[in-house]
């Protein structure tokens, strides 16, 4: 049997979306630090503005450096296209605002990043879009929460911070049975560890800031369009399947078919909301994507070492990582994530909140900050930082106890990471 003639994943991480610059021969992706682009003619300009021809016209809408990152991420995820944004939060907002209207409803996992929870729970209701939060491990709960006005199902492939493993195919089946798309935030997984579109997801969102960028130097997000969802069936998605006055009556599903979502997200979303990625940030993030396969393999190896160390440590009350047999999704993770279920884990320290505080203050190599997916090991206490706007009830529902420490395992020598954590754990037990 012949095989498809495509570059393989590791090669696409380095090359997809770019050929050496034809004018200068530049091998690296050039930073096109420009706001705008000279038109060939008045007709060419009019054609660009009217979506008759493609190309760059203004860097809020598209930019050659950003386009390389977009095409590369779309290729790695197996989508039809992608739209990069100024942050991961801007990506989630772009997806929601492109698909939904006032009066529409979202069914979302309750175990998601605090910022995403805020957007859906507190902010979008001001614009008439409401959300019901459900247990990500319960497909029936998603189904039961779907209403006639529901237009989107949303979850994280690896939850934050409990690393709940989403059964993407099961939730996609529920969504599709109701004529709805499944959007997933796959920031913790990256396409190296799991590609949600292959399991039935329709939209993949990333904070590119994290493992994709990998070095903690630039903020960015992306919406990857899977291209398989039929937006025209059922009449539920008028932004995509009805004429739009913004481009002289264009109907995105009719003109662009599988690319309808990404075309509208760019043509309307970036034009009007303006949450675009800067070309410099795209360049920085591309440097990370180039080594994604190498880094993720090391992140995962180091994580397994850290889990082993924590598991044996007397100061640790519990560990939550899918590689640990105690994790409720251990078997699912082994099936969906054969190369490892990421490098974020959480654990509890005997002694509760105070012991957790002493642990955080005692780490030396690990950095205490609000980020994950850096090359460097990071720790944080979500209850007082990333998830602090959540109520006590919401925190409890999301499984975020006061003693919970979230760890993003970096690329340092694993012995040094373990030594540092072990020292801090000992310190945490000294009242």
């Amino acid at each position: 049997m012949v095989e498809p003639d495509h570059h393989r994943f590791d090669t696409r991480a380095l090359h997809a979306g770019q050929r050496p610059d034809p004018t200068t021969g530049s091998r690296a992706v050039p930073i096109h630090q420009t706001t705008s682009y000279v038109f060939d003619s008045v007709d060419h300009a009019a054609g660009l503005f009217n979506l008759e021809v493609s190309g760059h016209l203004y860097s809020r809408i598209s930019n050659p450096t950003v386009a390389v990152l977009e095409e590369r991420l779309a290729s790695l995820e197996g989508g039809v296209g992608a739209v990069c944004t100024s942050s991961g939060q801007a990506a989630l907002h772009l997806a929601v605002a492109t698909i939904l209207n006032a009066g529409d409803h979202v069914v979302a996992s309750r175990n998601i990043y605090g910022g995403s929870h805020n957007l859906l729970n507190l902010t979008m209701p001001r614009f008439g879009i409401t959300t019901t939060f459900v247990d990500p491990r319960d497909p029936d709960a998603f189904s039961a929460a779907i209403r006639p006005e529901t237009r989107l199902v949303f979850a994280e492939t690896l939850g934050n911070p409990g690393i709940e493993v989403l059964d993407v195919a099961a939730i996609a089946e529920v969504a599709h049975a109701h004529g709805l798309p499944l959007a997933v935030d796959s920031t913790f997984a990256t396409p190296y560890l799991m590609r949600p579109i292959e399991h039935g997801a329709d939209i993949v969102i990333h904070s590119v800031t994290k493992f994709l960028g990998g070095h903690g130097v630039a903020i960015g997000g992306v919406v990857v369009d899977g291209g398989r969802f039929d937006w025209a069936a059922g009449g539920k998605f008028p932004t995509l399947s009805e004429p739009y006055d913004g481009y002289h009556g264009i109907t995105f599903t009719e003109e662009f078919g599988t690319a309808a979502l990404s075309m509208r997200a760019r043509a309307e979303g970036l034009r009007d909301f303006g949450g675009c990625m800067s070309p410099a940030n795209a360049f920085y993030l591309l440097q990370g994507v180039e080594t994604l396969p190498l880094r993720m393999a090391r992140h995962v190896d180091n994580t397994h070492r850290v889990v082993e160390m924590l598991d044996a440590h007397d100061a640790v009350s519990w560990i939550s990582h899918p590689s640990h047999p105690s994790h409720p999704d251990h078997e699912l993770a082994a099936r969906l994530y054969p190369n490892g279920a990421g490098a974020i884990l959480s654990f509890g320290v005997h002694g509760g909140r105070e012991a957790g505080r002493r642990f955080i203050e005692a780490v030396g190599l690990a950095s205490h900050l609000a980020n994950v997916g850096d090359a460097k090991t990071l720790v944080i206490h979500p209850g007082s930082t990333t998830h602090q706007q959540m109520s006590a009830d919401d925190l409890a529902a999301a499984g975020i106890g006061e003693e919970l420490i979230r760890l993003s395992v970096g690329l340092e020598d694993p012995d040094d990471i373990c030594d540092d954590l072990s020292r801090a754990l000992r310190a945490s037990q000294k009242a």
Binding site: E52, G227, I250, F256, G257
Partner: protein, 268 residues
């Protein structure tokens, strides 16, 4: 846009410019025909541009493809007769722009339904279109491998790297999704129909309307040399050769194809 042909609904993109069968303007009526397992959106770089540049553009979903009613038709000759019916429904004759299987349909329609076809623009074609047995087998089984194989073969080698003319899009990814989402059985039927069609050279010899051929020199599905018998008998045809394009010039070199269409319509 939707209209009825033979009692079945046909779906088409028109660049959001309505096309009325009673339109008496002098704007040429351009009918764009996609290839095997594809749909109207392969022409998204041309349809809207034509519609806003003094043409009436109708990029159809062939029967049973995209959002047009089925069933799919089973031979190039049947599809050529369908084109004639479409031309009548639209108040034709039509300038047919065909890709791959759509090029075969255009040739057959121009040869056997000459009153319905004002001119031809054909791309991604050879005198014959043999289909790799593994591709045919995967398509017959509705195996996603078929979409993957076609997406890899239908574009020139540059597209292994990408750089889509449309920012942020991936050409192979889009082609794969279009084929993958085609209704079950359609791709296998289309490929078998292409492989079985042996009338291209005879049809080309019978064509009298203005014709333009747009040929990618790096076409791996219908190599440039496979088009030569067509070129030889279409003595009056204009031939546009693209040095770096593969089997889908309208996606890979959209600017050149738009220029070729403009030149063609100006002389047709």
């Amino acid at each position: 846009m939707r209209f009825d042909v033979d009692g079945r609904s046909v779906h088409a993109a028109t660049g959001a410019v309505p096309v009325d069968g009673t339109d008496a303007t002098a704007r040429p009526l351009v009918l764009l025909l996609h290839g095997a397992g594809m749909d109207r959106t392969v022409w998204s770089q041309q349809t809207r541009w034509l519609a806003h540049h003094d043409a009436r553009a109708v990029a159809v979903d062939l029967p049973g493809h995209g959002r047009s009613d089925g069933p799919p038709l089973g031979s190039i000759a049947e599809l050529a007769a369908w084109v004639a019916a479409v031309a009548e429904a639209l108040g034709g004759p039509v300038h047919v722009v065909g890709h791959s299987m759509g090029a075969f349909i255009g040739l057959e329609a121009a040869a056997h339904h000459a009153d319905s076809v004002a001119s031809l623009v054909l791309m991604g074609l050879g005198a014959a279109m043999p289909v790799h047995p593994d591709l045919q087998a995967a398509a017959d089984a509705d195996d996603p491998l078929a979409a993957d194989l076609m997406a890899g073969w239908m574009h020139g080698p540059d597209q292994k790297f990408g750089v889509n003319p449309t920012p942020g899009m991936t050409m192979t990814g889009t082609s794969r999704a279009v084929i993958e989402t085609s209704p079950d059985g359609v791709l296998g039927l289309d490929l078998a129909m292409c492989a079985a069609y042996d009338g291209a050279a005879d049809a080309a010899a019978a064509v009298t309307c203005p014709t333009t051929l747009v040929l990618g020199r790096l076409d791996r599905m219908t190599p440039r040399r496979a088009a030569q018998p067509i070129v030889d008998v279409l003595a009056h045809a204009m031939v546009v050769e693209l040095a770096t394009a593969g089997h889908a010039p309208m996606m890979e070199e959209p600017d050149v194809v738009r220029s070729a269409l403009a030149d063609h319509l100006a002389r047709a």
